[in-house]
Every structure is written in structure tokens, then in C-alpha cells.
Symmetry: C2
Subunit: 269 residues, 2 copies
């Protein structure tokens, strides 16, 4: 695989752009091919089987773009599909959960870690599994926050309603005296300010996106497939609503998203 080939990144919708943003900051030489499954968003309330089927279709599409590596920039798909799909392809693939679990385990001082994520990610128990594999002494408490994604998509980023929902969701975790809170859905870093207000300054917020970009960089070095060009030509694909996606992407990314294309994702199987 050519070193200057692009990196495929996918998510159920726009949330994965917070991961793309970190990759662009940390490894600006790399070209991104992004796919957002906006026709079938959200993934967080869907079953493992459905999310795995959808992830498999997207990987097939990304392979037509000749990507050299894939990042699953969605916690639910990382939780449900990564272990299955990684054995089906011959290029490196990473998710966002393992990097997030690692940095949470390294950050906590009192050994009590909270996870906020979608229903799917929480019910999978994957953060608990990976964190206690690093250190069995650590305690992990999860809470599903199904309204956070629609609140972000409605643009209620810094709003009393979002603050009230965040207080309700996080109250239970605060009773466990957590000192570290993982933003376990790629939409949630967009609510960082509101969430920090609820938990106070003493709780560390973990954004797996940062650590995922670190891990990706290590992987490219390891496999000796870092890009050596300065000309990046990022591409953005979605399964529905290309124009709407472009507008949102331009508010998140440091580069100009000039075009976004629609893909009929169901044809990839």
C-alpha cells in the first residue's frame, strides 16, 4: 500500500469529525477520506448485528477509495464491530474506545472513572472491560445519555436545556465520587463546556479523539506508511444530506470542506 494513500475515517454521522479534527492537527500530512452514515444515524440505539452490518458496508466502500488504514471514529461501532471486522480486512484498523480507555486509566487518581456514551456503548460494557484489563483495581461507572446526540444536532450546545439534561444524566456518576469522565461518544466533545460546568473543575474530562490520533500516528510509524506529501486532498462522503453535512463540517474542521458527496451505501456488501 502506498504511503501517500489516504486514511479512511467513518462515523454514524457528524460526530467523527471531532476525531478528524485531531488527526488533522497532529498529523497534517495525512489525507482523509471520511464517510458519515447520515442516512442511518444514530447508531447508539441500534443492535450489535445492525451496527456491524453497517460498519462492514462502510469498510467495503472505504476500500474502494484505496485507504491504507481505517479509523472507526464512532464509539458504538468501535464497541460493537471492531473485533469482528478487523479479522476480515488486511489493512490496519483502530477504534476510539481503546485509546480512550488507556488515557482514562492513566489519568484517574482515585481509581473511579465515569463513562458517558450511547446506550449501545454502555450496554456493551467495553470501557469497563478494557479499563479493568489495564488495571483490575479501577472502578468504572457507565451512564447512557441518549438525548446528547439530538441536542448537539439541534445546535443546543450551550443552552439551559442541555445543562439540565447533563445534570440529570451525570448526577448518578457524581454520587460515585468519580475524578475522571470519558466523553465516550464522538458528539460529546462538542458539549465539553456544558459537561465541565456540571462536573466542576476537579473532574478530568477525557476526549478519546486526541488519544486516537496519537495511536494512529504510532501505527503509521510502526508500519512505515506515514505520508510524506504536503498536498492533502481530503474527501468527504455521506449516505444522505451532503449539503447539510458540509455546513456542519465547516464549523468543526480547520480546513475548508469544499464538496461532500452522497454515496448509496447499501450497495456495498
Amino acid at each position: 500500500m502506498a504511503s501517500n494513500a489516504p486514511i479512511g475515517v467513518f462515523d454514524s454521522g457528524v460526530g467523527g469529525l471531532t476525531v478528524v479534527r485531531e488527526i488533522m492537527r497532529q498529523i497534517p500530512n495525512e489525507t482523509i477520506v471520511y464517510f458519515g452514515d447520515t442516512a442511518r444515524v444514530p447508531y447508539g440505539s441500534k443492535s450489535k448485528e445492525t451496527v456491524t452490518t453497517y460498519s462492514r458496508q462502510i469498510i467495503k466502500f472505504l476500500q474502494t477509495q484505496e485507504v491504507k488504514a481505517i479509523v472507526i471514529a464512532c464509539n458504538t461501532a468501535s464497541a460493537f464491530a471492531l473485533e469482528t471486522v478487523k479479522d476480515e480486512i488486511d489493512i490496519p484498523i483502530i477504534g476510539v474506545v481503546k485509546p480512550g480507555a488507556k488515557v482514562a486509566a492513566e489519568t484517574t487518581q482515585n481509581g473511579k472513572i465515569g463513562i458517558i456514551a450511547t446506550e449501545g456503548t454502555i450496554s456493551s460494557g467495553i470501557y469497563n472491560e478494557l479499563i479493568t484489563k489495564i488495571n483490575p483495581e479501577l472502578k468504572v461507572y457507565g451512564k447512557a445519555c441518549p438525548l446528547f446526540v439530538p441536542l448537539v444536532e439541534e445546535g443546543l450546545i450551550d443552552d439551559p436545556i442541555t445543562l439540565e439534561m447533563a445534570s440529570r444524566y451525570i448526577k448518578e456518576l457524581q454520587e460515585y465520587d468519580i475524578d475522571t469522565l470519558v466523553l465516550g461518544c464522538t458528539h460529546y466533545p462538542l458539549l465539553r463546556h456544558t459537561i465541565q460546568k456540571v462536573v466542576g473543575d476537579k473532574v478530568n474530562l477525557i476526549n478519546p479523539a486526541f488519544e486516537t490520533a496519537v495511536r494512529l500516528r504510532e501505527l503509521l510509524l510502526q508500519k512505515n506508511i506515514e505520508s510524506n506529501t504536503l498536498e492533502t486532498n481530503h474527501k468527504f462522503y455521506v449516505s444522505d444530506g451532503a449539503e447539510k453535512f458540509k455546513t456542519f463540517a465547516n464549523t468543526i474542521l480547520p480546513c475548508d470542506v469544499a464538496t461532500t458527496k452522497d454515496v448509496n451505501i447499501e450497495q456495498y456488501k
Copy 2:
């Protein structure tokens, strides 16, 4: 087509059950085959092309169940897909928008009608089109309420957060002095109590589900295909999460939903 054949009813998810409830009340002899597209819910933020493709797949599935008629129990799919798909099949098919528009036009006293619905239904302009076709003097004001569906699905039916969101969404319509408000999404009748609190007793709330069941009954009589059996064996299918759907269905329907089956809907084309 046999008169005792079932009626196919579909929606993006659980909302269409409010229509099924009305059909069961008004024409209890009819057997229902319901399909909820829970893997790809919500439809309200998706494009016309995507919603039409999905509707076509579901109609193909319902036809394998040998239905004698189809009800599109989803405003977005009625708005986007009905006109296209009705020419592709040889059984009667109706949506929820036309019945809702008719009763709204008949109900208003001051000629000012508000519509609350998904982004898709509002942007289609279909309620405006159908209501002014009945009476060009009527004024129609639409407002998309994207958070209502997730709020219902989170169970925040009678909650201060839902009341606050309803106040914000409906405020604009109140400034137009509407006396009639159409609940233009099949989820919204579940928020009827909260919405009535916001608009006050002087505004009539229109639930298209009731009028849709009336229209269906007329249609069956007209075509002479009413069922004459008392044995109904309703069937419920979804594209994901059959167990979760069953629990929700049992809180809405007057009959016991004993089993719900998963269908791989993408294979119908």
C-alpha cells in the same frame, strides 16, 4: 385480493403505532401487519430520495405479506414518498397527511392553522399545499420540532424539559394567532398533554391518526374489501431491536403484542 387479507401499516419506528391504535379502535375486524424501520429511524431529517427508497423497500416487504391495502403511518414518508410509490403498486395506499389536512381545514374558525412536524415534512410544504387546495383563503404556518421524537423515545413525555422545548417551538406559531394545530408527526400525539398546556384550551389539536382510520374505513367499503372475520392475528415486524419495540408497543396498543420479528429490510428492492 381476499377481503380477509391484512392491512400493511408502516412507519420509521414506533410513532405509527398511534395510527394502528386508531385503526384497531375504529375497524377492529381488520388484521394489521406493521413494519417499523427501527434500524434507520428517524426519517424526519433525511432527504426525499432516501425516504422514498426506504418506503419502496418496506412496501415490497409488505407485499410479501399479501396485504390488501397499505397505510403510510409516517408524515415524512407520506409527504416525500406517497405520490411516487402509489403509481408503482396495484393495491390502495394512503398516507396520514391528506386526512390530517382535511380535518384541519374543517376545524379552523379563524382560518389560521399551525403545523408541527419533522424537518422533512415542514420543508416539503405538503400541509400548506393540501390545505390551501381545500380552501385557498386558509393560512398555514409550519414549524419543525426535531427534538420531539428523541424526547418521546427517551420517555420524557410529561417533563419540564419537554414543556420548555414545546414552548420554544410553538411560540412562533402562537404569534400568528392560530386556532388549530396539526400534530404532523405520528410521535406527537404522545405529547398531546404537554402541547395542549403550551397552546391553551382555545387551540384545537388535530391528530391525523383518527382521520386516517376514518379514511381507511371508507376506502375498504368503497373497494368492497372489508374484513368479515373476528379473528385478527396482527403481526409486528421491525428492522432492528424487536424486543425493545415490543415493550413500547405494549404500552401504546389495546391488544397484547406477543411477538415482534426482525426483518433484513435492505434485501427488498
